[in-house]
C-alpha cells in the first residue's frame, strides 16, 4: 500500500510518501495508524492523537474504520484549511 502524508504530518514523520506492506493485521485505517504510532519518534508525535488527524483511502475521505486492501493509497493529514 502507498501511504502519503501532508502538512504537519509530513513534517513530523520526515517524508511525504512510503510503502507499507498490507498484512492481515492491517484490516483498517485505524490499524495502520496504530502501527505507525508504534514506531515512535516523529511517527509517535504525528499519530499519538488520532482525533487531530484525518484520512483518505484511494483519494476519498475515510474514517478509522475504513477497510484496507493491497494496492490502496492511504493518506493522513490534518483537518483541511483551504479556501
Amino acid at each position: 500500500m502507498n501511504v502519503l502524508y501532508f502538512a504537519w504530518v509530513r513534517q513530523k514523520v520526515g517524508r511525504g510518501e512510503e510503502t507499507v506492506e498490507h498484512t492481515s493485521a492491517l484490516r483498517t485505517v485505524g490499524d495502520l495508524a496504530a502501527l505507525l504510532a508504534a514506531r515512535g519518534g516523529g511517527y509517535g508525535e504525528a499519530f499519538g492523537d488520532m482525533a487531530r488527524l484525518r484520512a483518505a483511502v484511494n483519494q476519498v475521505h475515510a474514517g478509522l474504520d475504513a477497510t484496507l486492501a493491497p494496492g490502496d493509497e492511504i493518506a493522513f493529514f490534518p483537518p483541511v484549511t483551504g479556501g
Partner: protein, 150 residues
Amino acid sequence: MSANVHIQAEDFDVGDEIEALTAELPQTGAVATFVGLVRGGDDLTALTLEHYPGMTEREIARIAEEARRRWALTGITIIHRVGRLTVGERIVLVAVASAHRANAFEACEFLMDYLKTRAPFWKQEERGGTVQWVEHRAADVAAAERWRKP
C-alpha cells in the same frame, strides 16, 4: 454542464474567467463570484498552500457535482492557487452561472463552505520570522453543516 476546476500556482483574472464561463451559455442570466484573498494583519506576510494532487481535483469535482444536483446552474468555474502567496494576493475563485440570481448566490456560498471543509488544502502562515500551520476553524465546519438536508 461540467465544472471547470483548476489548481494552479499562477494568478487568475476574474473578468477573463467570467467571460470564459458565460461565453457559450446564452441561457445564463446571473453570475455570482467569490474571490478569497490573503488577509493581512497581525504581522502576517504570506501564506503557503499545500494540496493533495489528484484527490483535490476529485474532491472539488464531487462538490461541484453536488451543487449541480441541488441548484439549476449553467456553469461553474473553481480556481484554487497553491504555493506561496503574499498579503492581498488572490487565493481562490468560485464563479457560478445560472438563469436567475438566487441559484447562483446560494450555490456559490455552498461551494465555498464545502471547499473550506472538504478539499485537501493546508495553509501555513508566515508572521515575522515564524511559520505556523493554520488550525481549522469550528465556524467553517458549522458553515458547511448548515447545508446538510434534514
